[in-house]
Symmetry: C2
Subunit: 415 residues, 2 copies
């Protein structure tokens, strides 16, 4: 990086501040912000951990003190604990474009990736020995897919999403892709890639961690086979809240889980020695559901009542556009470079800025209340959660970023 000047930018600041206020005033989702516990900073890390919906603690108190404390074991029936995994799955379903009965909540994303990848190669059948995995994806997907491939006798083919089409062939059993790249924020072409995977006779598995709750996914519409996702980012389910598994209805009868725990049995309380899988999404369950976390998530999903995912997407794009505009206006040229695509069709709900001084810059941003995160070595990551981030937040974050960059000289990567 070159030596740099720190120019001041008073005139655009006033214009952008005014525009931000107007945009916030016209924002149909602006009222949702009051549903969340936020302080006077700017929280742009909802793509790592969504903020707390303020009504959640009272509902969790009821789970603890009445459901567990008073009803105890009876709550498995009377408080609906037993059916929580599929009931909460059905609440997530409309957010990712799935009809009811196809999503089950439980376990971590990694464990669900394992279920999905093994089930996918079993659906693909004999004679196909390759699993294509997005080489740019969040690494756990690759680690788990490799572990699955080792157990099923398949070969992992790491591939960038842009190269999937060339890599598909008669040997391809399954393809594991991330809908939005966790680092760059790039949105991949789920409809087109799914169709290409199908044209090759393979099974498409999508990881929705960075897209669910931020943009329309259209699982059913685009014929996705299997999908997984976490619930603690844009779905605000709480730290490490249970993940979910989508199994398209047409595959449910042949979904052959590598983790057939007793909760996925057709008659779990029969406690028979032989395994017989349940029908429907229940087949994706494994062990006893983690009720406290699961009902925390269920409560958190209330913030989505009456929200259109299309409205969320529209605001997300407007927010990230506006933030990029503010960065362009405020930040001296050359200090940061956006690695998030400019094209709307290729953008998730975050902005990733490459910055040679990313580490000290993010530290100082956080000290000033602008909370994003660092993806080593040199990416400043800012997530925009449309339910609680506004345009004035975006303007302020860009302005403080410019201030911080003025304090951290170019080339100072440890200061």
């Amino acid at each position: 990086m070159s030596e740099n000047t720190t120019t001041t930018t008073t005139a655009p600041t006033e214009n952008l501040r005014e525009r931000a206020l107007k945009l916030d005033a016209a924002d149909p989702l602006a009222g949702r912000r009051a549903l969340f516990a936020l302080d006077d900073g700017v929280y742009l890390d909802g793509n790592s951990l969504g903020a707390l919906p303020v009504h959640v603690p009272a509902l969790v108190q009821d789970v603890l003190t009445r459901q567990w404390g008073e009803l105890r074991i009876r709550s498995w029936d009377e408080s609906g604990w037993w059916t929580a995994p599929e009931r909460i799955g059905d609440r997530i379903a409309p957010l990712v474009g799935a009809a009811a009965g196809q999503i089950v909540v439980g376990d971590s994303t990694s464990v669900n990736v394992f279920k999905a990848v093994v089930a996918a190669v079993r659906i693909a059948g004999e004679g196909r020995d390759e699993i294509l995995v997005d080489a740019t994806t969040f690494p756990t997907d690759g680690y788990i897919a490799s572990a699955a491939a080792r157990l099923t006798g398949h070969r992992i083919v790491p591939v960038a999403p842009a190269d999937v089409l060339a890599a598909l062939g008669p040997r391809t059993a399954a393809v594991l892709l991330n809908h939005v790249d966790y680092r760059s924020g790039r949105l991949h072409d789920l409809p087109g890639l799914t169709a290409a995977v199908h044209a090759a006779g393979a099974v498409a598995v999508w990881d929705l961690c960075h897209s669910a709750g931020a943009l329309p996914v259209g699982l059913d519409e685009h014929g996705v086979d299997l999908a997984v996702g976490c619930t603690y980012k844009y779905l605000n389910g709480g730290p490490g809240s249970p993940a979910y598994l989508y199994v398209a209805e047409r595959h449910q009868a042949v979904f052959d889980s590598p983790l057939p725990g007793w909760n996925s049995h057709a008659d779990p309380f029969g406690m028979t020695a032989g395994y017989a899988p349940a029908d429907g999404s229940v087949r994706g369950r494994v062990g006893t559901p983690d009720i406290v976390s699961m009902l925390t998530l269920e409560a958190a999903l209330d913030v989505w009542d009456g929200v259109s995912v299309d409205a969320v997407r529209a605001k997300s794009l407007a927010l990230t556009d506006f933030f990029l505009e503010c960065v362009e206006a405020y930040v001296p040229a050359g200090r940061v470079v956006s690695v998030t695509p400019a094209a709307h069709a290729e953008r998730g709900s975050q902005v990733a800025l490459r910055c040679a001084e990313a580490e000290p810059v993010m530290r100082r941003l956080i000290e000033r209340g602008v909370v994003g995160d660092l993806r080593r070595p040199d990416v400043l990551r800012f997530g925009f959660t449309p339910l609680y981030v506004g345009f004035a937040d975006a303007e302020r974050a860009a302005r403080i970023l410019a201030d911080v960059l003025a304090e951290v000289p170019a080339g100072n990567t440890v200061g």
Copy 2:
């Protein structure tokens, strides 16, 4: 079952009631009961779901409102979220006779059985193709072991614990056993069976769901290789609270997880494409830990501060002895038969009574506040949690059982 008379038993009732009061007065653990949310009934289902420790909801409120709500993403460091799985594992360790650094908390018991069984056959190495599984055990262990065997190319050999010695041989890779049978309450000989498994050159995996928190396990002392357990029974961690995995220190460097999620990576935030396992118990982690449930469990473990597991065991045996004595005194001969061993060395912390009319009897018991559970078709199961069940509870439960049996005629299996 024969037709039956309902005799009244006034004299022994007075004696047993008096004895119960004396036993409670002399019980060194009696003070622990006040730590739990209990009503005026008799809760004998702590072997299914442990009761709520009364201090837990306030601590969970802090997790939700301050740690998540205010600190948000900073809590991964500042509130100790990231290290919770191994920290809480170290708190469980003394309860099962393990030195620190060998237990990690997370996932369900079923998922941990999968990790343990696959890791066990990998430790056993090539040339051993059989996995022995307790055929009488809780069925999820068998389902999951079969799923693991299918993936690793092993053969499942179902075997009753009494027949393990005869079934062991040069083909045995691993043996999965339940320490206490969930139905009968029979305690198996962990030291002897583990030694026999080792003598055959195989790896011993123990499921501690029905023993941890009720009796000494001695994982290190007896050289157990791998173990799993739940935390929602005698450990009172909450409904579906996270399970745990024990990997003996000598195996940790070769523990080869089939679920190598990013949380088990040596440098998880390096987010490198290649997988490199962490050292120690961390290697047993998979995905992002389920913090709300995990910290609920951590809070619940406070009730163990200052408690000796030997004292728990002494009380457990005294309680189950006394309950059996009361049943013998109160219940007309022939109506129930204990399937729980009389010998202390073979008894866990529950009493299972075979009763032809088990279904209507348990329903009426619950209506009268004596909460046990039914294991179909004909087992009345009563769990005795020494931290909160007393001798007067045991006497009362047996007395009400006799009353209920007087109302439900022998042969009435649906009334």
